[in-house]
């Protein structure tokens, strides 16, 4: 049986800390010898974890890119890894760091200089999902019937994700974190994050930079913050009622949660936390983190949730990024290797469920549907004319040869008409049909434009897709950046 390992990197540049992991992913054939080949990631091993360092900042508005790059290359050297060995992975800029002035530049710089196929990610929802994968919440949701929530609380934000039976239901991010108030052991406030101000005002608490805060007030603040978080997770309060705490959400209502996992910096403090008795106990990291961890633990314990310890806590996001961001396409696909890797391609989705007929009427219907969809794509995706979008084809669990041929003709005609200068057409099929469709498209496209046709990847409209170089014998690593939820 075929067996192979690929190396994957995860880098997490967060509000307060930065870390890196190197892992090895084992790829193995999972289909029988008489079936079509199907490979999957069957084992994941961490081979190196960096120390957790303070995210290097030039000032409050800018990340120090030189120090960060220098640190990364040191870490790669320590790990004994060459850049070209890294075949997959992700770098994510998280929490409040993502709103720094140069965040985007740095993100893409890191992605381009961290390996052959390291994907840039940012955004609270992606961070939430990665943390939930790294903490073990996703895996747990595959084993239990109910909803498993992961709350990753770091310095600036609490990224919450809900999983059910291995699927993401949605994410919610709150302005809740240990570093929103930075202080010393005299209670002097060194920095008050602007993102906690609305919530403080909501509760009639008035704080300013440079003023002093006493222990009872800090206890009250962290207690109230924990209470509000718990209330909104249990459904006692609606998201609307707690708008000042809300950073962003992809759901209107919090689902019924069965199990909850707390990860992130607060999650790791939580494990062995003793009750802080005074400001000196609290300010060991020069912020309110320890007190928040303690209070949240007390209050959450009184809820009906079953609290599950995380597999990884402060490293949950980086482990999610390094070990569980990459998927494998099906192994019977058709991809012109010269277009790889492709980065950040927006997904245009078309649902062909129920449209499998090959009579004239169905053909006309298919033509209209595809042409209109591609027109939409032409209007909204104007950034990259070479590869304007990846077309995700939903449905077609059973696709006949004739329908496949019609589909290829229709796609070819519309694409040629609307995107005469495009370098390649990328299609992503939900079901196992990409090799047949790819052949049909290739025979039509000839050398006019290139074809990448992959399958068995779940993408939705509005997602972004990155595709790495071919992994022998015949699959590609894919990272889907989900922005929308059903």
């Amino acid at each position: 049986m075929h067996e192979d390992w690929i190396t994957s990197a995860g880098i997490d540049v967060g509000t307060s800390t930065t870390k890196l992991i190197i892992s090895r992913l084992k790829i193995n054939r999972v289909s029988g010898s008489f079936a079509l080949p199907r490979f999957d990631i069957v084992d994941r091993k961490i081979v190196y974890r960096s120390p957790i360092i303070h995210t290097p900042l030039k000032n409050r508005e800018e990340i120090d890119v030189e120090t960060l790059s220098g640190w990364l290359s040191d870490q790669y050297q320590n790990a004994g890894i060459q850049l070209q060995d890294i075949q997959s992975g992700a770098v994510i800029i998280t929490g409040e760091t993502a709103i720094k002035k140069n965040a985007e530049t740095i993100l893409h710089h890191l992605a381009d200089h961290s390996g052959k196929f390291v994907v840039a990610m940012a955004g609270a929802h992606l961070e939430g999902i990665l943390a939930g994968k790294g903490s073990g919440a996703l895996e747990r949701s595959r084993q239990v019937a109910g909803v498993v929530a992961n709350v990753d609380i770091g310095g600036g934000t609490a990224n919450t994700v809900f999983f059910k039976r291995g699927q993401v239901l949605g994410t919610v991010t709150f302005h809740a974190g240990g570093r929103l108030i930075e202080l010393d052991d005299t209670g002097m406030i060194h920095h008050l994050s602007p993102s906690i101000q609305p919530w403080l005002r909501h509760h009639n608490i008035h704080l300013t930079n440079g003023s002093r805060i006493d222990f009872p007030l800090l206890e009250h603040i962290t207690g109230q913050l924990s209470q509000d978080l718990t209330d909104v997770l249990t459904g006692q309060k609606s998201l609307d009622q707690l708008k000042p705490l809300l950073h962003s959400t992809t759901v209107d209502n919090i689902p019924d949660i069965q199990d909850i996992i707390i990860s992130g910096g607060i999650g790791s403090l939580w494990q062995n936390i003793k009750q802080p008795a005074n400001l000196r106990d609290v300010a060991i990291y020069k912020d309110m983190g320890p007190l928040l961890a303690y209070q949240l633990k007390q209050i959450l314990r009184q809820s009906t949730f079953q609290i599950i310890p995380p597999l990884f806590s402060s490293r949950a996001t980086v482990i999610g990024a390094g070990m569980q961001s990459t998927e494998l396409s099906g192994s019977t696909i058709y991809v012109d290797p010269s277009i790889l890797p492709v980065r950040n391609v927006p997904v245009l989705s078309i649902d062909l469920t129920g449209i499998t007929g090959t009579d004239d009427l169905s053909q006309q219907q298919l033509k209209t549907l595809i042409h209109e969809k591609m027109l939409t794509g032409k209007k909204i995706f104007t950034e990259n004319e070479q590869i304007p979008f990846a077309l995700s084809i939903q449905g077609l669990e059973h696709c006949s040869y004739r329908f496949n041929k019609n589909l290829a003709h229709t796609l070819h005609r519309s694409y040629r008409t609307l995107f005469p200068d495009a370098e390649a057409l990328i299609t992503v099929c939900q079901f196992d049909m990409a090799k047949a469709l790819g052949h049909s498209l290739k025979l039509l496209a000839k050398d006019d434009y290139k074809i990448a046709c992959i399958d068995q990847i779940d993408v939705k409209h509005g997602d972004y897709l990155d595709m790495g170089e071919i992994i022998p014998p015949s699959m590609v690593p894919v990272v889907i950046k989900t922005l929308a939820f059903s």
């Binding site: 039976r165 696709c399 006949s400 004739r402 041929k405 049909m433 990409a434 047949a436």
Partner: protein, 252 residues
């Protein structure tokens, strides 16, 4: 697609009436074609379940006894030759007869077929003519596309009535192809009566052993997707030619 007639017949469907964990059960049922989660009455299966089982069994028997229609072969320009099987009864009792082509067949093949082709395609009813009727229209053209995409050249394809897998060896002796692919109906089972296999072999000849054959099996609309199987055969054949090997020695 025949699927509506053959499989997703909702009228046959029975379910556990009040499952405790509906989604979990649904996931299990989705994962296998086996008859699970169909409900029961006390310790026995439901009448409908039993009827469906008998229905499928009858289909399996019909599949063995059926013949591939002339139209189906004409659609793909396949001429037909016989093995020494004589008739269906003998065919079932004497597997050895299905492995050898009749004298007439040898003569016809020699007349009509390109000798020493790169790829020889052969289609045979085997134990299920229905498998050919159901899947050939999807597998065969997809296979031709995949040969073209892989830059391989087919010889003259034909149909063998009453064939067994090892008739490949006899055909190999006659035509000396570099590689041969045999699309043949599988022994019908209760999950599917119209399942097809693609057997592939590098330089098949008298004395080829089973481990020298590569196979993609379970090809039908609810199993290995027919067009995808067809599309992949070209890749496998190309690897056979490159590695000059097939079966367990082939890396694929």
């Amino acid at each position: 697609m025949d699927k509506n007639v053959v499989y997703t017949d909702q009228t046959w469907q029975t379910r556990i009436s009040a499952p405790r964990h509906k989604q979990g059960l649904w996931e299990l049922v989705k994962a296998t074609p086996a008859r699970i989660g169909v409900g029961r009455t006390h310790t026995r299966p439901l009448t409908k379940t039993m009827l469906k089982l008998q229905y499928d069994h009858a289909q399996a028997i019909d599949a063995v006894r059926s013949e591939v229609s002339r139209e189906c072969l004409q659609a793909f320009d396949l001429f037909s030759v016989d093995t020494c099987f004589q008739d269906k009864e003998t065919y079932l009792k004497r597997p050895d007869r299905g492995r050898v082509l009749s004298n007439d067949a040898v003569k016809t093949i020699k007349e009509k077929c390109l000798s020493r082709p790169q790829v020889q395609i052969v289609v045979s009813d085997g134990l299920s003519a229905k498998a050919i009727e159901t899947n050939l229209k999807d597998v065969y053209p997809a296979l031709l596309d995949s040969l073209e995409a892989s830059g391989l050249k087919p010889g003259t394809p034909f149909f063998v009535r009453g064939g067994r897998v090892a008739c490949m060896d006899h055909i190999g002796e006659i035509l000396k192809p570099e590689v041969l692919v045999l699309l043949i109906g599988e022994r019908p089972g209760l999950a599917s009566a119209h399942s097809m296999s693609a057997y592939m072999c590098y330089q098949p000849r008298q004395g080829t052993i089973e481990s020298d054959r590569t196979v993609i099996s379970n090809i039908h609309p609810n199993g290995t997707p027919p067009i995808e199987a067809g599309a992949h055969i070209g890749t496998v054949l190309k690897k056979m030619i490159e590695q000059q090997a097939s079966g367990v020695r082939l890396q694929w």
